[in-house]
Symmetry: C2
Subunit: 216 residues, 2 copies
Amino acid sequence: MIFSSRLIEDAVAEFSKLPGIGKKSALRMVLHLLRQETADVDAFTEAISRLIHQITYCRQCHNVSDTEICSICVNTQRNPRQICVVETIRDVMAIEQTQQYNGHYHVLGGILSPLDGVGPEHLNIGSLLERVTKQGDTEEIIMALSPTLEGDTTVYYISRQLKHLPLKITTIARGIAFGGELEYADEMTLARSISKRLPVDNYVNVGPASGPSSDS
Amino acid sequence: MIFSSRLIEDAVAEFSKLPGIGKKSALRMVLHLLRQETADVDAFTEAISRLIHQITYCRQCHNVSDTEICSICVNTQRNPRQICVVETIRDVMAIEQTQQYNGHYHVLGGILSPLDGVGPEHLNIGSLLERVTKQGDTEEIIMALSPTLEGDTTVYYISRQLKHLPLKITTIARGIAFGGELEYADEMTLARSISKRLPVDNYVNVGPASGPSSDS
């Protein structure tokens, strides 16, 4: 694309590094910013600068936080004996959004992937073991990782590490998604969802933060 | 959406002000930036800051420019006796992209729209008249405005203002777009494209910067 201004060219190049943004959308955003008040654009860049320079991660669960310990970990209304292990902070947000979970979290910061060179030492697995050992009263570790080979490997690895401790390890249920069509579901999912079928009573009961079903 | 961090919330709010970006995409961008190196994110915010604080507009044609007179206006290879009148700098980029035009531009900065309170005094129409009068040797004014009621009104208004000058005023051709299907074209467009039909020779000849067809 031909730009008559180096400044526009640079800004477009920067915007098109964002996920899902091509050159055309980037240009649209740049031209949009050009039409705004200078103060509004300054607010935009300052919000991003503040984010990147001031953000901290919770010392306990590694979730993003504005304070040393995040608002979930300090909330006494939540159950610290349940720890939900997730891959990223995005997963924390997704689960919080459902308002079905009232325990704590532990953000791994990724998933075991030998092919990409991601080993246990790159993830917050050590701090999970330390946290559980130190806390002592953990009752349940809920593995909420992606249903992929890497996810299952990570679940397996962590379970092995925690085997000696007297706690329950569960994973989130796999199955046919709401609104999903049976005939288009993949074999693995369908097989799993038949073999792990639930009594209808249990299925209907989607109350807040009820314990996991007893079939495991 | 529930964010555990005020910083993330602010950044997401700022991103979702961009055109075509909802809360979910905004969050995706924010989390993407969080995964980048601080220096890369600084480069992003600095490019935008520079853009908004340093950008200038060409004193002659009002196109964006890094200098007082833009690179198109100072280019002696281009024909200053043809002036293409467009609504926004985006239109300049679109026409430059085609590489079919070798004259100068004049960016109005909008279009006459009495309903939105946009009158001639809000647009760069005065400076166009001044420019043409001062320059003296303008041969053609090409109106490349949107084919809407407002666009046609603007074309009509500017033509009236230039009526006393010995120059040709043209508009870009309206018609069925390449790849457009006849049966789905609106009546106005189809009617116009039949009444302004072109000889096949002329139609095929899409050479660089040939003059407009002589039917007017």
